[in-house]
């Protein structure tokens, strides 16, 4: 009897924790959506800000965030994947590799504003990219790197050694084995990492603060060396600067809703692709 009661209590507690988590998530979405939906219109999505950001839309910020996120992934995915492959498939196991692993995990713990300062010092000043999409993407990319590396590593380690052996025993080289067998099998797991980092990157403000983001721009960026507006920074600007806080706050909620929807949409697409990949071979 006693054991059953304990079990019931245990399950109830677990259920309670899940419910509390979902409640948090649900209330955030409700809060943002109910306030943000009021300002959302076709004009809001397709036009630039007017009248010192109290009217018009936020299209340049949406476009800017898309560019920055895309840039960060273009930079971080191949680099991170290559690191993960090297660490899992090629490097001899030992002291040095452990140090590299620990360093990568530590990189994940670095506060994002540090990446911002680093980006300012290295990309903006040293390489002379200026405050630009390129600098911002690189700073965001470094932020995403540890996420991508560790999730890709997990995905690679989850693949049974016996499949690698099967491929090698057929006379495939290690590289052929990685390219044809290991990577395709690990793809769903790798995509998960990409999804996570997209969510993270799209919403980051600190790394682009000094490297890419502009307070206000007329029109769209012209090249990767242009400054951009970005949604997270735009929200920050609306809430802290300007002369019409009442109107700006409403727009900030609109921006938050768009940012949330964008991240959810990207995640959903990636999850869809992942399921399709998985489904093909189960």
């Amino acid at each position: 009897m006693r054991a059953k009661l304990t079990q019931k209590l245990g399950f109830f507690l677990l259920f309670f924790c899940i419910a509390a988590t979902l409640l948090c998530l649900g209330s955030i979405i409700y809060f943002i959506a109910s306030r943000g939906i009021k300002v959302i219109s076709w004009e809001f999505l397709t036009q630039g800000p007017r009248m010192s950001m109290t009217q018009g839309g936020v299209a340049p910020a949406i476009v800017g965030t898309l560019y920055l996120t895309l840039g960060a992934i273009i930079f971080a995915l191949p680099l991170g994947l290559a690191c993960a492959i090297y660490l899992c498939e090629y490097s001899p196991k030992g002291f040095v590799v452990n140090i590299i692993r620990i360093s990568i995990n530590n990189l994940a713990g670095v506060p994002s504003v540090v990446f911002g300062l680093f980006g300012l010092a290295v990309f903006v000043k040293f390489f002379g990219f200026g405050v630009s999409i390129l600098s911002g993407s690189l700073a965001l990319g470094i932020l995403a790197l540890p996420l991508i590396i560790s999730s890709a590593q997990e995905a690679l380690l989850a693949i049974p050694q016996s499949i690698r052996e099967a491929s090698l025993s057929l006379g495939a080289t290690r590289w052929e084995t990685i390219k044809n067998i290991v990577l395709p099998t690990a793809l769903p797991g790798i995509l998960t990492g990409v999804i996570l980092s997209i969510g993270r990157v799209a919403g980051e403000t600190a790394p682009i603060l000094f490297t890419a983001a502009a307070f206000y721009l007329r029109g769209y960026p012209k090249s990767i060396f242009s400054e951009v507006m970005a949604l997270p920074y735009h929200i920050y600007a609306l809430m802290t600067e300007g002369t019409h806080p009442d109107k700006q706050t409403a727009i900030a909620y609109g921006c938050s809703l768009i940012l949330l929807a964008m991240v959810l949409f990207i995640s959903a697409t990636a999850i869809f692709i992942r399921q399709k990949q998985k489904g093909a071979h189960v």
Binding site: R164, A166, L170, T173, T185, A280
Partner: protein, 253 residues
């Protein structure tokens, strides 16, 4: 029966770090015959056959002395390309390990990594390999299905077909029936008897009846040593070494 030696192990010693896993192994494996390797767990039988296609290289911290000849050529020499060895010496593993790809791709993979792109040839070879592995009739209508949908026994025959598709001459079976039911096991054994007409076969097995049923020669390993080797019939009816007798009569192991 041919008496040509296909694979020859000469004074082979093998170490995992400082632990000696194989001690002075000398063994001849005859062409187009089935050689069974029996012995209790941890006696070095799997370690030994993994040397024959250089799969030992995948494990770090090991060392190896001695010589292993394939058709008279020492495959342990550094100038030898392991990829070439593995094309000639295929391997079927303990658990079926098909690639998470389609049935067709599982077979064509080995042909493609060997640089053949001719589609017609590949299709022909896939069919031929599946027929040789006695799987063609079961999968001919669903070559584009995932290999993971097959049953365990079918998957194992697929893995056999996969190694037949490359220009294999020797096939190493590492306890191929350990995870299969008796009917699937019977099919694999039947297949082994069929395959020995064309291929040299080495099979590691825990199942003594299996060794007796399929093999021409049997080698008994114990604690990393080769205790006795001979015609299967002789090993099972009049073993020379008391340890062999003890093992095959089930007194230990």
């Amino acid at each position: 029966m041919s008496n040509r030696i296909k694979v020859k192990a000469e004074d082979v010693n093998f170490f995992y770090a400082k632990t000696q896993a194989l001690k002075d192994i000398n063994l001849d494996i005859l062409e187009k015959q089935v050689t069974a390797i029996i012995g209790p767990s941890g006696c070095g039988k799997s370690t030994f056959i993994r040397l024959l296609n250089r799969m030992d290289e995948l494990v770090p911290n090991t060392s190896l002395t001695g010589k292993i000849f394939l058709d008279g050529e020492d495959i342990l020499e550094s100038k030898i390309d392991v990829v070439d060895i593995r094309k000639q010496v295929g391997m079927v593993f303990q658990k079926p390990n098909p690639f998470p790809k389609t049935i067709f791709e599982n077979i064509s993979y080995g042909i493609k990594v060997n640089g053949i792109r001719d589609k017609e040839f590949i299709c022909q070879k896939v069919e031929e390999s599946l027929k040789k592995a006695a799987l063609w009739n079961e999968v001919r209508d669903r070559l584009c299905d995932s290999a993971l949908k097959l049953s365990g026994g079918q998957q194992q025959r697929l893995c056999i077909a996969r190694s037949l598709a490359v220009e294999t001459q020797v096939i190493l079976f590492d306890e191929p029936c350990a995870s299969l039911d008796p009917i699937s096991t019977a099919k694999i054994e039947e297949l082994i008897l069929e395959l020995k007409k064309e291929y040299t076969i080495v099979i590691v097995t825990h199942n003594m009846q299996q060794a007796a049923r399929v093999s021409d020669h049997t080698a008994f390993f114990l604690m990393g040593e080769l205790i006795e080797v001979g015609k299967t019939q002789d090993i099972f009816t009049k073993p020379k070494d008391p340890r062999t007798e003890a093992y095959i009569t089930g007194r230990f192991g």
